[in-house]
């Protein structure tokens, strides 16, 4: 999994967290995207607010219609993450061929009241990113049929 923060959200305080994700198939067989789930971990910085998440852009077949984006809660909460953004795919998104990549999967999350997030304590956020350069990023995790196949959970 490769990642960088969207260019307007490389700051400590943001109203929306917007990771850009690229999944690369380094295996030896085609990878049905519907078998994958990806998680981006962050702190909500809030006791009361619900989260709203969505897909912003993708070049995959069917575009965002075939991408599911939800949020979840980590139990117990950690200082670097109490929530996660989970990205999945429907069958219409197709498969990644060997060596293929999704490129530029852009998703976003904001709080229901649109208050700022503080990204300085977010597990998956890369504060060193300054450009649109893909970086292998182990702090975003990828699961295939529920089994971790990439990254380190917080």
């Amino acid at each position: 999994v490769q990642y960088y923060p969207e260019s307007t959200t490389r700051t400590q305080f943001v109203e929306s967290i917007i990771p850009q994700i690229n999944i690369v198939n380094t295996g030896t067989e085609p990878l049905p995207l519907s078998e994958l789930k990806l998680r981006y971990y962050f702190t909500k910085d809030s006791q009361t607010q619900a989260l709203e998440a969505a897909c912003s852009w993708t070049a995959l077949p069917g575009t965002c219609a075939n991408v599911t984006v939800t949020t979840g809660t980590l139990t117990p909460a950690l200082t670097v993450a109490d929530s996660y953004l989970e990205v999945g795919f429907t069958a219409g998104a197709g498969s990644l061929p060997v060596g293929g990549q999704t490129l530029d999967l852009i998703v976003r999350v904001n709080k229901a009241n649109w208050s700022d997030f503080d990204q300085s304590n977010d597990y998956s956020f890369d504060p060193t990113s300054t450009s649109d350069t893909w970086k292998d990023w182990s702090k975003v995790t990828l699961y295939r049929n529920g089994t971790l196949i990439w990254g380190l959970q917080p």
Binding site: S7, T8, F13, D45, Q47, N113, W114
Partner: protein, 256 residues
């Protein structure tokens, strides 16, 4: 028979009480969502007009860096009658696209001083709710405050067709204010109109020194070096904004 009718009567009473309970809960949970005209006018007057009569450090009747959360709570409760406990206050109160927030405060108590406050407007929702937003439009803020001390536009030309977003930061050091517009590009340009705005936010600080300190958090991921100014990344510079405000739909900003 008597037992039968008594049983039915008790069942109906239970149903009635349940309905009453449900209606009460529904009314309570919608306190922050419902916006009667009087409440809307209060919010417009307090948050969506420029506070020209209220000198620094008094902004919207709140003094950032001076007033406590208790004072902020008292002010906020006038505008948002359904305001709940301290946790709700610290998280920020929002209704129909207009929100009032305080800076993050760790282990907040009512006697904690509020470092800065901000008002965030989501024009799409606020328009639907019938808010008048003339006072906090980019053009209105620029007209009131003048050209900013410094300006920054965060965006990426190569990403315009994908993320299609920009964040514009106008720094007003004399007014200890920071105005931020998150917008959508239109025809590859950043136009400072509410129609192009996802959100507009006005942050107010105690003084220029507090603003300078906060800028490092608002413009970098970890209090690092500030990004290149708008003059380096676009065809405009900080001195162009009053001209932009005069014709915001046409005097748009182009990325270099």
């Amino acid at each position: 028979m008597t037992t039968f009718f008594r049983g039915r009567w008790i069942t109906m009473l239970r149903l009635g009480l349940s309905l009453l309970l449900l209606l009460t809960l529904a009314a309570g949970s919608s306190l922050l969502r419902a916006q009667d005209p009087a409440s809307r006018q209060k919010i417009e007057a307090a948050l969506l007009t420029m506070p020209t009569q209220c000198g620094k450090p008094c902004f919207w009747d709140i003094r950032p860096g001076v007033d406590t959360l208790a004072q902020f709570q008292s002010f906020a409760a006038q505008l948002y009658p359904g305001l709940g406990d301290l946790a709700t206050l610290v998280d920020g109160v929002e209704s129909n696209g207009v929100g009032l927030y305080v800076a993050p405060i760790k282990e907040a108590t009512l006697d904690a001083v509020v470092p800065y406050v901000y008002v965030r407007l989501r024009p799409e929702s606020a328009t639907t709710a019938g808010f008048t937003m003339n006072g906090i439009t980019p053009a209105a803020v620029i007209t009131e405050f003048g050209n900013p001390t410094q300006a920054y536009l965060l965006a990426n030309r190569a990403q315009i067709n994908k993320s299609n977003r920009f964040r514009l930061f106008l720094v007003y050091r004399p007014q200890a204010a920071l105005y931020v517009m998150t917008g959508k590009f239109e025809g590859g340009k950043a136009c400072l109109t509410l129609a192009n705005a996802v959100t507009v936010t006005l942050y107010r600080f105690k003084d220029g020194a507090d603003l300078d300190e906060a800028l490092k958090e608002f413009l970098t991921p970890a209090k690092g070096t500030l990004p290149p100014s708008i003059a380096a990344t676009t065809d405009k510079n900080a001195a162009d904004f009053t001209a932009i405000a005069a014709n915001p739909a046409a005097a748009c900003i182009s990325l270099r």
